[in-house]
């Protein structure tokens, strides 16, 4: 196995020290697991886990017309953001499908900070640059090499992170962020995450990442903190039914197909793909992303056919054995007529049709 062309995050040494199994992911050598996916998953649900998400892409959009630009390329309504607030959104193709899903953070009217999927970063950056000519004075900059990102997630994330900063973290509401010092270094501290738990995503300069990681590990020792790999990151986001680009959403699916109506703001003015989304909302969607539970023995996986009445009617987008619910669950696209909770469907697993049933989502919701 050659690792020559893979990039390493500033936390690479920390992962090796923690006994991580490293795998190629989105052009990076990333930790897939340390002690085991299930154990790491449970640590995040019950205590606190630390994630290296430095592979994620960060893009700055600046200029007097930055808001106009963001409004044009994404489907959510960024005019509703105030400085220090972030939202989930979609970077749209002209067909109303996803170039990527992303977080849009507003620093000011003239500065937005986008966080995008690692695997899509180069594509997103090129796509954004191609839209700039209509927006005089707007500048798009790929800042991914300037930021490392550490996620601290779990019910004890606040308590642990607070030990390293004088910023009153409890005052940062969900999907808000502040600029402040943590462990003596400048950071963006956001109350966001991809696990279904409370927690923070902290952005620091690459050189500051490893010291911060070690400080967080030390600060969290009493709380049972543990490093968490990409394996558990996937099962955690899956239980919370947070879509994964490339699995549950892609450039063939619209936010309405994916049940993400809440990020589609058709009244905000023109934007890429709006016409198609307007038509789709008028005419109604034909397929829908649903959750399902396996009733027969087997685990549904990405790409497996969904069958009803003897015919293939859809496809599984994500599926695994849920560590929290301890059953085999999945997500996939089905015709709207089959999308009601309780509808029996079948999943074709290695040529065998196995019973399943449409289930309510999200599978997991934390107690508030």
């Amino acid at each position: 196995m050659t690792a020559e062309n893979l990039k390493r995050t500033p936390l690479y040494e920390c992962h090796l020290e923690a006994g991580a199994r490293m795998v190629p992911f989105a052009g990076f050598e990333m930790p897939v697991q340390y002690r085991g996916v299930i154990e790491e998953h449970r640590t995040v649900r019950t205590a606190v886990g630390l994630f290296d998400v430095s592979h994620m892409g960060e893009i700055d959009v600046t200029g007097a017309r930055a808001l106009d630009f963001i409004q044009f390329v994404t489907c959510n309504d960024a005019s509703k953001l105030v400085p220090g607030r972030a939202h989930y959104s979609g970077l749209m193709t002209p067909r109303g499908t996803f170039v990527d899903d992303l977080l849009v953070h507003k620093f000011s009217d003239e500065h937005y900070f986008l966080v995008v999927n690692a695997a899509n970063k180069d594509k997103d950056y090129a796509y954004l640059c191609a839209q700039v000519p209509g927006f005089e004075g707007v500048s798009v900059r790929d800042r991914s090499d300037d930021w490392a990102q550490i996620a601290i997630q779990g019910p004890r994330a606040l308590e642990v992170t607070q030990k390293l900063t004088s910023v009153p973290l409890a005052d940062i509401k969900y999907y808000r962020f502040v600029e402040g010092e943590i462990d003596g270094v400048k950071a963006i501290i956001a109350r966001t995450g991809y696990t279904g738990e409370d927690g923070f995503e902290v952005y620091v300069a690459p050189a500051a990442a490893a010291p911060l990681w070690r400080s967080l590990m030390a600060a969290g020792a009493g709380a049972g903190i543990a490093p968490t790999g990409l394996g558990a990151r996937d099962t955690l986001r899956f239980e919370a039914c947070m879509p994964l680009y490339g699995n549950d959403i892609d450039d063939t699916t619209t936010p309405l197909d994916a049940g993400l109506d809440w990020i589609v703001k058709l009244d905000k003015g023109g934007f890429l793909g709006r016409d198609l989304l307007v038509r789709q909302r008028e005419q109604g969607i034909t397929r829908k992303l649903v959750g399902f539970e396996m009733k027969g023995r087997g685990i549904a996986r990405h790409g497996y056919p969904i069958v009803s009445g003897g015919a293939e009617v859809g496809v599984v987008t994500s599926g695994t054995h849920s560590p929290t619910l301890e059953k085999a669950l999945g997500m996939g696209y089905v015709p709207v007529a089959l999308s009601a909770v309780g509808t029996p469907i079948e999943i074709e697993i290695r040529g065998q049709r196995v019973a399943a049933e449409v289930a309510g989502t999200p599978f997991y919701r934390r107690a508030k």
């Binding site: 697991q33 996916v37 998953h41 394996g231 023995r297 685990i299 695994t320 054995h321 290695r350």
Partner: protein
């Protein structure tokens, strides 16, 4: 690594315990480590005739599905039903409670499989790639 000396091993990381005309088959310590947390085991029906190299079954971890291959030819005489409720035994005790199937094999079966020392060398080389 502690791979029992009395077992034989395949390049596809299954182990075989030969007792008379019965071969008990499982996956090695190394294989279960590579798979991670096992959450589902799919085994063949008793009576199935397998040729060496056939897909014996599937083992699923949280992350992925992996095929298990028959390390030698034989007829399935028994499968480990305990794994239906406790697939994690493949991780916890790969050479004991985590066994997969028992095959009825012909005399002389097992030729071409590795002994523990050879297997360990094989794993070390594979890991170095």
């Amino acid at each position: 690594m502690s791979n029992p000396q009395e077992l034989l091993y395949a390049r596809t990381h299954e182990w075989v315990r030969l007792e008379g005309d019965t071969a008990t088959v499982g996956i090695s310590l190394y294989a279960q480590e590579q798979l991670g947390d096992v959450v589902f085991v799919e085994l063949p029906a008793a009576g199935k005739q397998l040729v060496g190299g056939d897909v014996l079954g599937n083992i699923e971890s949280v992350k992925a599905v992996s095929e298990v291959f028959a390390p030698l030819a034989g007829q399935v005489v028994e499968t480990n039903g305990e794994l239906e409720a406790h697939p994690e035994q493949v991780n916890a005790d790969p050479y004991g409670q985590g066994w997969l199937v028992k095959l009825k094999v012909a005399p002389g079966a097992g030729a071409g499989l590795m002994d523990a020392a050879t297997y360990e060398k094989f794993v070390a080389e594979e890991g170095a790639h």
